[in-house]
């Protein structure tokens, strides 16, 4: 099929559209990592003693850990001493109180990305806590949220203003010893977002954070903590773009979600970090630990992710279903092109009775991309009547890419019902032929089929994100997708 071959070539030749660097003076630490760096970082952020101790414990444990090798990705060893562990835009020292005080160059950065804050402030329903490198630079709609009792602020602000909440919940889902990158993150995390939804509150708007990696050689170590108290509801959006870089940048974030009785968190991600050029040079290493704990009965967590960026994506948003009747969902679209590698999936740990989980994963491989689904469904001894449905589909575009599926299913209770299905296919000639004999061009037909392939996941995204996700797929697969 020559039309699609040409489409594939176009697609492979597609440049990264969000690649640009903003020149802002950065206040950065020299590269290197030791206890003094952590102490300095903690002091710079005026952190309480318990947090410094927590960081140091994590660092000491990290030193004893080995770099994990089990995943299906390949990359050169990372020298953790060559990374600078703190970088803040200088103009932040004074602390802008409103958008007007924010460095105009930052604003123009966001404008280039198509997310002008002014406009977003005017747009109803979305509050933005934008993270430029490591420090929050603008927080909007705070008042409206405060009215509802919702706390939505940067992590460092939360440490100062709500130390009790941080002390109570930090590290209770992903401990500082959890894994290599989680321990590293715990030791050196720079900032992130903190959300607390009080009892019975339905968050009046969707919360959104834009992450951005800017200063060269600065690993980003974000830490997000969301606590949904009894009967509350929140929808959280996370989106990422990054400037074009030649050097690999490490991103090791941790996201912790705590869901109490009858509460619900919906967490959506669109990730479009720089994937490297067509020869596989550069690109972001995205090693993320995301985990939710449905701590009490009837809690619900829904992860939705669209992964089109990063040279290497290595993340498994997980749900620990501790409370009875709790529900975990995972919807994912992962696209790999050129030399991108993605090893992603989810873990659903059923511990409580009558717990339910759904996993829908769609992988698309093109160019020389390697796309791996790796998921765990575990049913504990007490998890009576638990239920899981898993579907992993892979679509291969081109004959040099790979699609892999590695599910793990561990069941310790006879009343559990687990279903797992997976398929791998390419766009079939029959499907194309059918569309084309109805008068649809080859390109539109491919577009229709790929969109249809991902539809189950896109329909889970909030409206604003669904649009962006489709645009991202469009950029990544331009020529194939209309």
């Amino acid at each position: 099929m020559s039309a699609s071959n040409e489409n594939l070539k176009n697609m492979i030749g597609q440049d990264y559209k969000d690649g640009f660097v903003t020149d802002i003076e950065s206040d950065s630490f020299p590269p290197g990592l030791n206890e003094d760096v952590i102490r300095a970082l903690s002091a710079k952020k005026e952190e309480p003693e318990f947090l410094l101790e927590w960081r140091l414990e994590a660092y000491r444990h990290w030193l004893t850990m080995e770099h994990p090798e089990w995943s299906f990705v390949e990359f050169p060893d990372i020298d953790f001493q060559e990374i600078s562990y703190y970088s803040a835009p200088k103009s932040m020292e004074d602390g802008p109180k409103s958008l007007d005080e924010v460095d105009p160059e930052l604003i123009s950065t966001y404008n280039k990305l198509g997310i002008p804050l002014e406009e977003q402030m005017r747009l109803a329903g979305v509050a933005v806590d934008a993270v430029f490198d490591s420090v929050s630079v603008a927080t909007t709609f705070k008042d409206k949220l405060a009215e509802a009792g919702v706390i939505f602020c940067s992590f460092s602000e939360a440490v100062k203003e709500h130390p009790d909440l941080i002390k109570q919940y930090l590290g209770t889902v992903v401990s500082q010893y959890d894994n290599f990158y989680a321990a590293l993150n715990a030791a050196v995390f720079s900032d992130g977002s903190f959300v607390y939804i009080p009892k019975g509150v339905r968050c009046p708007m969707e919360l959104s954070t834009y992450f951005r990696i800017n200063a060269a050689n600065t690993g980003q170590f974000e830490r997000t903590l969301i606590v949904a108290d009894e009967g509350s509801h929140v929808s959280y959006l996370e989106g990422c773009t990054a400037p074009m870089r030649d050097e690999n940048q490490l991103h090791a974030a941790v996201v912790e979600l705590v869901v109490l009785k009858d509460a619900e968190i919906k967490y959506s991600t669109v990730q479009n970090w720089y994937p490297g050029d067509e020869n596989g040079v550069g690109g972001i290493y995205n090693f993320v630990t995301k985990r939710a704990d449905c701590r009490e009965d009837n809690a619900k967590v829904s992860w939705t992710q669209v992964e089109t960026g990063s040279a290497i994506t290595w993340k498994y948003p997980s749900v620990v279903l501790t409370g009875d009747h709790s529900v975990g969902e995972f919807y994912s679209v992962a696209l790999t092109n050129n030399y991108q590698q993605a090893d992603t999936g989810t873990k659903m740990i059923h511990l409580g009775k009558n717990t339910k989980s759904t996993i829908i994963s769609k992988g698309i491989s093109a160019g020389k991309g390697q796309n791996t689904y790796r998921g765990l469904v575990k049913v504990g001894r007490q998890a009576e009547n638990s239920r899981n449905y898993t579907q992993c589909d892979s679509l291969l575009l081109g004959d040099e890419c790979g699609a892999h599926t590695f599910p793990y299913i561990e069941t310790k209770h006879p009343s559990a019902t687990i279903e797992h299905e997976a398929s791998t296919s390419k766009i079939s000639e029959d499907q194309l032929f059918y569309c084309m004999q109805r008068g649809i061009s080859a390109e539109d037909a491919v577009s229709m089929i790929v969109n249809g392939f991902c539809k189950e996941v896109f329909k889970e995204l909030p409206m604003e994100f669904a649009v962006e996700a489709q645009a991202l797929l469009g950029i990544s697969l331009e020529g194939s997708v209309g």
Binding site: L396, D399, C401, G402, H404, E410, T411, P414, H420, S425
Partner: protein
């Protein structure tokens, strides 16, 4: 990768202690091969459960039990041996890894065009054939248990079917462990060679005297040449205290057809590998049934390596786990970049009958070609309450209703066995575990 291997000093010393009494110890190429395997075993040893491929199976008890290799076979009841031999087959019988000519079909009774013999005989009569087949299919670097087998194997079957020959009767190779009262280790190696356009059916069976604790480490290497059709059944009915580590490693040439089935009932801990490398337009079927009770641990690993285009493969494993038993299934389908038009399906269904039973399953797809159809499915569940209710409303008591449904679940695999004596042997095992199903053998 940093991997913790189990200490294996005892087994290393076994290797050196037996150097001079092993089969073919006068033959230099074989000694060289054994030496290489022994060195490799000293280096890698037994796998620990920290290894990805062994994370659900713990072989520490094997290391701790310090099994020893018997220099000759122990005594077994004649009646017991006769009871495990299937009707209508040619037989090869081994006790504790040593050949038993008295129970085996004499060479004169075999049809022309086939070689069915013990390795201990073939090594002198057909040395070139043994040399060409031995260690030709197992992957390198091999697993620790494979290296141990190569270093120590005492005997085994060699079966070679000449071109364009169809063998009418199945060939049964029976491995029996005696009532030795000692912790014995049998290392056996089978070599099967189906030459171009030949047809044959081979049945491997493993038996032990009840309550005996021993270790069987049995490797089978299979070569299916172009247009040949080979069926291979493997019935594992070891003593419930035994350990069984086994593997069937096969290579299919173009248009070869291979059908491999495992029926696992015995051993306290068992692990069976079934690996196939598929040639162009070949066809491979891997089936399995495992039925666990008490504290049995049953692990099946399959690997379908689609190396060439146009091959098809089907895989279907079913498991029933009762009491505190644990079932493990790992299936891996690898499709190489050149293996376009591959069609591969894998299915694993599990029935959990008790709240202490456990199933761990890992169906994996690893695909590097774009024009392929690959699918896998897994289910874990329990008996359908409404079906149980229906049967009870018809007068069956609860246990009978459950046994009937469990039997029906397993019967899907049993019905696929075309050779009746084997089907009856598998049924015997099933009915022993699930009596009062209202099922009578005569009906089949």
């Amino acid at each position: 990768m940093s991997v913790l291997h189990l200490p294996n000093a005892h087994y290393k010393s076994l290797v050196s202690a037996h150097e001079d009494v092993l089969l073919g110890d006068q033959i230099s190429w074989l000694n060289g091969l054994r030496k290489k395997a022994a060195d490799q075993f000293s280096e890698i040893g037994f796998p620990s459960f920290r290894e990805e491929e062994w994370r659900y199976t713990n072989v520490t008890p094997i290391e701790k039990n310090k099994f020893t290799v018997p220099r000759e076979s122990g005594s077994v009841d004649e009646a017991f041996i006769n009871s495990v031999l299937l009707e209508g087959c040619y037989h090869l019988v081994f006790v504790d890894g040593h050949f038993q000519p008295t129970y085996s079909t004499p060479v004169n009774d075999l049809p022309s065009g086939i070689l069915v013999s013990a390795l201990s005989q073939a090594i002198t009569e057909n040395e070139a054939l043994v040399k060409s087949l031995l260690d030709s299919v197992v992957e390198t670097p091999a697993l620790g248990f494979v290296s141990l087998n190569t270093a120590l194997f005492s005997d085994g079957a060699i079966i070679s079917i000449e071109e364009n020959t169809a063998v009418e009767k199945p060939i049964q190779v029976a491995f029996i462990s005696s009532k030795a009262g000692a912790l014995t280790l049998s290392n056996t190696r089978n070599l099967i060679f189906a030459q171009a356009a030949s047809t044959a059916h081979i049945i491997e069976t493993y038996h032990g005297v009840e309550d005996e604790c021993y270790l069987t480490n049995a490797i089978t290497e299979v070569v299916v040449e172009s247009n040949a059709t080979l069926s291979h059944d493997r019935l594992q009915a070891e003593s419930s205290k035994a350990y069984h580590i086994g593997g069937v490693y096969s290579r299919l040439d173009d248009k070869g057809v291979f059908k491999q089935s495992n029926y696992t009932f015995g051993a306290s801990t068992s692990r069976c590998e079934s690996h196939a490398i598929l040639g162009e337009a070949s066809d491979c079927t891997l089936n399995g049934l495992y039925v666990g009770e008490d504290r049995q641990h049953m692990d099946h690993h399959t690997r379908l390596n689609h190396a060439q285009p146009h091959a098809t493969s089907h895989e279907y494993y079913k498991g029933i786990l009762n009491d505190r038993s644990q079932g493990v299934f790992q299936g891996r389908i690898i499709v190489a970049q050149d293996a376009q038009k591959t069609d591969s399906k894998m299915n694993n269904r599990n029935l959990l009958l008790s709240d202490r039973a456990e199933v761990d399953t890992k169906p994996q797809l690893e695909i590097y070609a774009d024009d392929v159809k690959c699918a896998h499915g897994v289910t874990v569940g329990q008996l359908d309450e409404t079906a149980v209710f229906y049967l009870r409303s018809r007068g069956a008591d609860e246990q009978m209703a459950k046994n009937m449904l469990t039997f029906a679940f397993a019967n899907e695999m049993v019905e696929r066995i075309e050779f009746k004596p084997l089907r009856l042997a598998v049924l015997d095992e099933l009915l022993e575990r699930f009596p009062q199903t209202g099922m009578k053998k005569e009906w089949l």
